[in-house]
Symmetry: D2
Subunit: 338 residues, 4 copies
């Protein structure tokens, strides 16, 4: 169990994303979001944002479906790694140690209660830019790309879960994450739960999957610096035919300015200016929203897009039908496995 | 001694600032920077920014001189407080426990090797806004003021020191702060040293005082969100006759976008967008700049303003003469005590 | 008739706005939008934005209803005034000359084919700021307020009309305005029509009033400088309980970034960054959108808010019922006169 | 002579720029500023910004020196063209008619009193984007590039002149431009003079050439939308090794936010957010600054960079020596012809 005295979790360290249209997805991340490919192994491209100190944060893998593979989280020290592994093993969710991969060291693999595959690690390699990628200022990980959205770094990940409460309790009690905000269901339990590791206001989020499926992916977010960056991103997505699902707009919860798009493989990707608002208070009391408060919509009043709790990856066989029903406010059809 | 495993320091928690022109300084912080006065005790006004969870972060005190009083830092837990107090006492720099003040709990007072007065505390009261100050969104500390610069929060403090190296070693070894960046003197030792507590890229800074004085104040910084906010601030300072010393511009070190002004009492205040660039790496290797690298100027090439290492508070008796000599590139006159 | 060789129209010069809640509306314009009251005559307050050269652009009048009074447009020269008056008289829409008012000189009053009251004038007084309002830079009309939204200037006006085509033809053929863009109805005629005077991309707009009423007001727009200014405005409106009807978002037509709010009196007000995109081409071919193109929504895909063609002022007796039906996509009830 | 009733000048329509390092300069305009090459004829590349309706605005020509070739200005109508040609011929500065070039129609060539080569034209071809360059929104000239600085359009041109007064009188009296602002020399005449054509606050500027040379080029400006765009541009220039001469900062005169860089060929290029502040007043009284007022520096207090009145193109044989002397505040060496 985490005590308030430990900060064992450092940051979201890497995500594997599956796509059935590898080249189109690669174009999206590399040319529009300005990530750089650092390695290609088998069916996977490893990509990094320009201000990330590690070798990669996105492993993009060609697949016959979409959705998320293993998510990696970095911890703050070797001792923190030991503590978290012990806690995970005690919870009976551990899979065992895995080999290093493209600069990211030995990791301990596990799954969350909803079945998402995860790993934690401490050792990692620091990126050393080559001549072409060397920044003008030595305190920057690599050159500012000056291309597309210029996403600075990976920010957070959001999973869909059939049981948000159980998944959240795991992150609070076993992983030692701190709660930022949560949406409480009138009947008990939570519809959505935000967790932070240190001062960034959130790093891991769970949202209810209205289809009742397990282990699906909601989105991960990349962080540009400002709201204007996200408006520019919207212009770029418009010009490049990327589907904008929601935004640019401002969340009520956590007050992030956001845009949600569907990358060509169907996975939801967010751009979020998650840096301006930090939680400096080590004692931050979790902010809880009732269903009624949540129903009021996002910060400036717009209602949350209806596909927010249905569009997840991997797609169900009738995903398009489900999303369409959600948009029309009709009952959601029974999910059909692919 | 700090081990890498502990994050004992949370954030800069409060600064006492002396001013010989109390009403003018109060106008500056309250009306231009949009801070709110929460208490008035004796000669001091206690002020807070709109997104700060504590009751106050600035104690503005009428005095016959300017400069900084006691700086308060919050730690992450009661255990962290014990650890830091023990380390400070072991270093022989402790003064003892002090009473709570306007919501900020019992603190342990000490001084740094250069003689700046400081305190650390854990207990603190959370601000509860009244009707007028209640925010529309419950995850915000108080209402967005919509006034002047709308500074979101206190960010960091920068001291002048006669011996930066000694002061920095104290923060690294006794206080358990993490190094962000530093400027190494060709002859050994450091001209400037930046420390961070967690993910914010810096919280405490020391810069060399070319007058050789002890215990002087360089500046503290308040954080708006974006570079555009700081440009707007410059427009507001221009319109209100506030002296702009340097900027708006971009630092090479830490890459902060900044503006330095002299508040009416003569103390230097910075506005800094210190949130966009976070240090997520728990292992971040300190970035060291040589004197030659530093001499190249700020990020986009402008030279650092010459008064940067001479204009400190409390003023010397010949402060204006010293600053003028610095601006002209002439030898700095011997400091005369007030 | 205007020839391409004349630029007879200069800019929107003044709007009279009626409000049944005078004090609340005055607070909105003065304290939130940062306008300055320059005169109070009878039931009217005269207000100006900080970068406007005239004495006033908004005449806010206490009334038992809402809606727009007379709109004033400045022409480019005395000769232009003669030409336009002659054209208006020839069209049989002239009312005659009116006396000067708070710095705005003798005007010729007329009405457009939908019954909106208007006037044109050339003579005007230039604002001379007093000590408190004197700007730091002499090329600025008055001091930057540093308050609320800091709206720079009045930008354009948009009327509802029962017959957009007829109103537009009047502006094109009689007033000598230039067309920017228009929405063509499948059955002929126009659903909305944008006109510009010179390089600003539009100054006068007509939109169809789905209630079939005459002479109603859609909105006028004030211009801050950037999209970020408009996001800040949204934060301020949220905090101050102002109803946000739509946005912040980006128009497809004219690509303006906008927010629409209802000021306390029920009149729709827009903030629009209408300056970045200018029409420098004296020959600019009007951009025509089909109904199908228009139905695709605003620039990034969001659908236009349904009250856009029903919420007009003065209110109908069943305005709230009409707006609610529009929001629900139900048939719009027959309008009932107040 | 222009009467107040005519707006004969539309906008800066095209500039020929000479460069001794053609490929490097082409890289600068195409890859960093995001212009698109539309034609290559002989030693010249023709380039356009993404929101320009014409085929090109920059003709970049390989040469053994740098500097500006012919500048083209578009007029508002065929009648305006006749009027201006007649006025120029009456002033004895006309050269005669020239053939169309890459979409820009027949032009009348002339020189200003300082010897800069110019032309005016009315006929021009409208750019029709191909599939790759077709914008998502039909009211936009071409696709948003999402690359580098994303400069929207050409904005204005600034010449160095040995006699600013004479050049300015030509633009005021013969060309029919309107005065925006000017710097009056204590001894009479002007040190700098800004002219506007319509609502954009300036289109043509003259500044004194302290070397006493004739016909040299100071800079032309491309316009992104916001101040933040210009800060981003500074980051991109830093990363790509482009020499930043001055800024990002805010001009006192015209209040433009700017950055001045030297493109690889040595020509000064400005990025300026010249759109936010428009001059809507057809009667705008010219703003005159005294030498003492000008000496106070730019808007926020920084002094104008000393090379501003010496670094011009084509370079003198001892240009580097002259610029260096200016930077040191030493007497400027006698100019030596190349």
């Amino acid at each position: 169990m985490a005590t308030r005295d430990n900060f064992d979790l450092a940051h979201l360290g890497g995500v594997e994303l599956f796509t059935p249209v590898f080249e189109e997805s690669l174009h999206f991340f590399r040319d529009l979001l300005a990530m750089r490919e650092v390695a290609r192994i088998g069916d996977s491209a490893y990509l990094r944002c320009w201000d990330e100190y590690q070798l990669y944060t996105l492993k993009l893998t060609a697949s016959d479906t979409n959705g998320v593979g293993r998510t990696l989280f970095r911890v703050t020290s070797p001792e923190a790694l030991e503590r978290r592994v012990a806690a995970i093993e005690a919870a009976g969710l551990g899979h065992g140690w895995r080999e290093p991969e493209v600069g990211v060291g030995r990791s301990y693999e596990f799954e969350d209660p909803d079945g998402h595959l995860m790993g934690i690690y401490y050792d990692t390699e620091h990126y050393v830019p080559d001549d072409e990628d060397r920044p003008a200022l030595k305190n920057q990980a690599s050159a500012f790309p000056g291309r597309g959205v210029n996403a600075r770094r990976m920010d957070h990940i959001n999973y869909l879960a059939s049981d948000v409460t159980k998944a959240g309790e795991f992150w609070r009690d076993v992983m030692g994450a701190r709660e930022s905000e949560r949406v409480r269901l009138d009947g008990g339990g939570y519809a959505a739960w935000w967790f932070r590791f240190q001062q960034k206001s959130y790093d891991v989020v769970y949202s209810e999957d209205w289809t009742g499926e397990h282990g699906r992916f909601h989105h991960f977010a990349l962080a540009p610096d400002t709201r204007e960056d996200i408006l520019k991103a919207a212009d770029i997505f418009l010009e490049n035919g990327v589907h904008i699902e929601f935004g640019p707009y401002k969340h009520a919860i956590n007050q992030t300015f956001f845009i949600y798009v569907w990358e060509p493989g169907g996975n939801r990707i967010e751009l979020a200016n998650a840096g301006a608002r930090l939680i400096l208070d080590p004692d931050w009391p979790v902010v809880e929203w009732s269903q009624a408060e949540r129903a009021r919509g996002q910060a400036w009043g717009a209602k949350t897009v209806p596909t927010f709790h249905t569009h997840g990856t991997p797609f169900l066989a009738n995903q398009a039908e489900i999303d369409e029903a959600a948009m029309k406010g009709e009952p959601i059809p029974a999910p059909q496995k692919r």
